[in-house]
């Protein structure tokens, strides 16, 4: 059985740990360690630990710094310990509300008592179900999406409601069911193709690149391919190298496809709906560790714009561009930065292809400093492309070179400690901002 273990992000949303539908952390050894980390505290030593951290080694901290850095991380998380946790949660939700006011017209958030709370995977499911209700051509195909409800429960209950044909369990061949989805789309259906893990879609690369991306163009516009290809990706908790891939890196060059990454229940539902309604093939990137995020979303129907970035936290000193899980590391770092007197502007770029250079540009023109925080690898990732795009378009507005924090060019190790160090951590983000804002 793959993927019966869903590990969750440890910061901020302590509500996650009590989610009943996924095997809870408290039953796993990792859960215990996580809990210990949250409630244990490094105490006074933490403040100095941060300053001993070598700012030059932002992406790959040296081994000698490892213990110091870890304790500093523990410090940050400890701040989210028992007393602080409540205020932290409230603080965050307040931020969501505050940011909503700044967000574009299309996205009004639940500010009043109306709205309902749900987890991110439930938000995806809700969006999918609403679209399947609305349009009988929408169908789902993938491995174990039917009565099993999907490996991450995004398609839970859909097979019972819509039948085995509209929620189709396929044999194991990603290239084949992606190809099937493309053929079905060319004949009028709107398939939502689920890859059990984004990494498996490497097997579907041929269909995605040669048929999905190209056929609308090579057919002279005669055939449209309104598919949605979605699935969880990114670095999880010890899922091993093959299951920790960042496919947005590899797919970003394919002409003809659109890519979006969701990061909150609100934008997950909104982007799912928008992707289904789009006439273009859209790849929706979800993250393995974000499925249990809880948020209150509006009862009314809404859609998020596929090509728009999301203003998470407006600021004046520096623009931090990020997406998916790194958004949370950035926000955690932002807390520390605010305490230190910085005012970062955090933008969740959401649209990975094409980039929302309008929002990004406006931000760069305001702050003149850019830090990109991503989970992709150094070489050829979203950050690499974004750096190039910003340099080309907004060079005159920059007071400092664009800095990009990414994962190293290594396969993700299985060992938990090593895995942690392949992912950009909040401490590194803080250091990078300090360096850029000197």
């Amino acid at each position: 059985h793959k993927y019966l273990f869903i590990f969750t992000e440890e910061i901020n949303f302590t509500a996650i740990l009590t989610s009943p539908s996924i095997s809870p952390l408290r039953h796993s050894p990792w859960g215990k360690k996580m809990a210990a980390r949250i409630h244990g505290g490094a105490g006074a030593g933490a403040a100095t630990a941060l300053s001993t951290f070598n700012p030059k080694k932002l992406v790959a901290p040296s081994r000698t710094n490892l213990p110091a850095a870890r304790s500093s991380k523990r410090c940050i998380v400890a701040a989210a310990g028992s007393d602080a946790s409540k205020s932290l949660r409230v603080g965050h939700s307040q931020k969501l509300i505050a940011n909503a006011a700044v967000a574009t017209k299309a996205e009004t958030s639940a500010t009043t008592g109306t709205g309902h709370e749900l987890l991110l995977f439930e938000a995806l499911q809700e969006g999918l179900e609403e679209e399947m209700d609305r349009d009988p051509h929408v169908c789902v195909m993938g491995e174990d999406v039917g009565h099993y409800g999907g490996s991450y429960k995004v398609t839970k209950g859909l097979a019972d409601k819509f039948g085995d044909l509209r929620v189709l369990d396929t044999p194991i061949c990603e290239n084949a069911f992606t190809g099937m989805g493309i053929g079905a789309a060319m004949t009028g259906l709107r398939p939502v193709i689920e890859g059990m893990n984004m990494g498996f879609l490497l097997l579907a690369f041929n269909q995605i690149s040669n048929n999905c991306g190209m056929l609308h163009y090579t057919s002279g516009g005669q055939f449209t391919i309104p598919v949605v290809i979605r699935g969880p990706g990114g670095v999880g908790r010890q899922l091993g190298a093959e299951h920790s891939q960042r496919l947005e890196s590899y797919f970003q060059s394919i002409p003809g496809i659109q890519m979006v990454a969701c990061s909150t229940p609100y934008n997950a539902k909104g982007l799912m709906k928008a992707a289904i309604r789009s006439e273009n093939p859209v790849i929706l990137f979800e993250h393995v560790l974000l499925y249990n995020l809880k948020e209150k979303i509006p009862d009314e129907e809404y859609i998020c714009n596929l090509e728009e970035a999301e203003m998470v936290r407006p600021g004046e000193h520096i623009t931090i561009l990020t997406y998916s899980r790194m958004r949370y590391h950035v926000m955690q770092a932002a807390k520390t930065l605010v305490n230190k007197g910085y005012d970062p502007e955090v933008i969740d770029i959401r649209s990975l292809k094409p980039f929302d250079l309008y929002t990004i540009g406006n931000s760069v023109k305001k702050t003149h400093r850019v830090l990109i925080v991503e989970e992709c690898m150094r070489t050829g990732g979203i950050g690499a492309s974004l750096t190039a795009a910003i340099n080309e378009n907004f060079h005159d507005y920059l007071d400092a070179p664009v800095m990009c924090l990414s994962s190293q060019d290594v396969p993700t190790p299985y060992a938990g400690t090593l895995e942690e160090w392949t992912v950009v951590q909040p401490a590194q983000i803080v250091t990078a901002v300090e360096q850029l804002c000197q």
Binding site: C173, F177, M180, G183, A184, T187, T218, G256
Partner: protein
């Protein structure tokens, strides 16, 4: 081998390993007969010295004790019941005889005695034959045009005219076609004009593909013929998806996909067949086994008895047809289509034929096969002459009709080429349109950059591509 035989456990296992290595049951069985109890009544517990039979006996006992089933020669596993056998016997890698090939006309176009086929009316037969001639002539003239430098590329369908036209004739216009690249005849049958073919080959403004693809990569949504994608066998899963869509809509139509002997090696072929069987999708898989995949003969492509036997591996009904026999092709596709739609099942048709032409204009097949072989197939086994004989025997065709047709087609073709050559190419903006439904900012910017570059170097820009 008999010398090594002792009735001991370890030797039995050695014999087992030996047989496994050589895969021949005849080596093992004489020895096994010494050691194994012959299908005796399972209630008698024979404690055999041999681990294999001991295991079998135990399993059988378990079964008979836990099931009411009186037939205790049967084992229960995921996937269903199977009867067991104490004999170690490997299924042979091939049948002794190859799967026979269905044909209606002999090599000379005479109807074979006792032949079963779906009757064809005069109109259909005449149209079939005319379209086969048209296809051949179209191929001739486009091929020549490429050799003269007027076309960049072309691929002929010589030798496969019967497959192209007869299969199209047996289908309905609602059946969706997913071609490989050697099936323009299906489009021709459905009404694609010679002018439309020429437009695509010349990539001009009137091309439905807007000049974006190589020649012969036709596509027409109004004729339900999906744009040719050059990648081999990727259209097979697409076809299964289309069949799935048709099944959901409950349409009286099926998906039909073509591929070659080479295409059957691709992973997509196996996956699509498996999917189609599991999904119970109404799709026809038509394999044009023409003996060659560029320079690779079928003996280097697979070791099975062609492609038809692969159907059974996936639980798919299959048939082998003489692809150069128009009547046989017609009947096979007709029957297959009925079954596919009525019973919601995929069907595999292996049409045996020969690729008379080169793989494409980039290939010279005399480098890897003899010119005599090509010539023999072109003359002695020609699908057109065989069918013509049959059509004429019914009094539906004549020499006069033939020469009328040929001169008309030739004129039409030359005119089509002349017009296509003269027609403007598509505008530069079509380089950027249709990538998405609406060009995003980055593409609009890139178009501006291209236009700027053209403005500063107008002499480098082709004069026949309008801005």
């Amino acid at each position: 081998m008999a010398q090594h035989l002792k009735s001991s456990k370890s030797t039995f296992l050695n014999v087992l390993r030996h047989s496994l290595a050589f895969g021949s049951p005849s080596h093992a069985s004489p020895h096994l007969r010494h050691n194994l109890p012959h299908g005796g009544p399972p209630s008698i517990k024979k404690v055999s010295p041999n681990p294999l039979t001991r295991l079998c006996n135990t399993m059988v006992d378990t079964l008979s004790s836990s099931h009411e089933d009186t037939n205790s020669q049967v084992m229960d596993f995921p996937g269903g019941k199977v009867s067991f056998t104490p004999e170690i016997r490997f299924i042979s890698e091939s049948n002794e005889e190859r799967v026979p090939c269905y044909r209606v006309l002999d090599d000379n176009g005479q109807q074979l005695p006792n032949s079963q086929f779906v009757p064809v009316s005069k109109e259909i037969a005449v149209k079939m034959y005319s379209d086969m001639v048209t296809l051949q002539m179209m191929d001739n003239i486009f091929y020549e045009a490429q050799r003269q430098g007027r076309l960049s590329f072309y691929a002929t369908a010589y030798g496969e005219e019967a497959i192209n036209i007869a299969s199209a004739a047996a289908l309905s216009p609602d059946d969706v076609i997913f071609p490989q690249y050697r099936e323009p005849g299906v489009l021709l049958w459905r009404g694609f004009t010679l002018q439309e073919f020429a437009n695509q080959c010349f990539g001009n403004k009137s091309d439905y593909g807007k000049g974006r693809q190589m020649p012969v990569h036709y596509g027409s949504n109004k004729l339900n013929y999906f744009t040719v994608s050059a990648t081999i066998a990727t259209q097979l899963p697409n076809a299964v998806g289309a069949a799935y869509s048709l099944k959901m809509d409950g349409k009286d139509a099926c998906a039909v996909t073509f591929f070659g002997d080479g295409g059957s090696s691709e992973g997509d072929f196996h996956a699509a067949m498996n999917f189609a069987a599991v999904m119970e999708a109404p799709v026809l898989f038509i394999c044009r086994n023409n003996g060659w995949a560029i320079s690779t003969p079928t003996s280097d492509q697979f070791r099975s008895d062609g492609v038809v036997v692969k159907g059974r591996a996936y639980g798919i009904r299959s048939i082998r047809v003489d692809g150069n026999d128009a009547l046989a092709m017609y009947s096979a596709v007709h029957e297959a289509r009925e079954m596919a739609i009525r019973e919601h099942r995929p069907i595999l048709i292996e049409a045996l034929t020969y690729r008379v032409g080169h793989h494409s204009t980039s290939d010279d097949s005399t480098r890897y096969r003899s010119a005599d072989e090509i010539e023999w197939w072109n003359k002695a086994r020609n699908p057109l002459s065989r069918f013509r004989t049959w059509v004429e025997s019914n009094g539906w065709w004549s020499d006069e009709a033939e020469s009328d047709l040929r001169s008309r087609i030739k004129k039409e073709m030359l005119e089509a080429i002349r017009v296509a050559e003269k027609t403007e190419k598509p505008n530069l903006n079509h380089m950027f349109s249709d990538v998405y439904d609406v060009p995003p900012l980055n593409l609009r910017e890139q178009e501006l950059l291209v236009r700027q570059a053209i403005k500063s170097h107008p002499q480098d820009y082709p004069s026949d591509v309008p801005l």
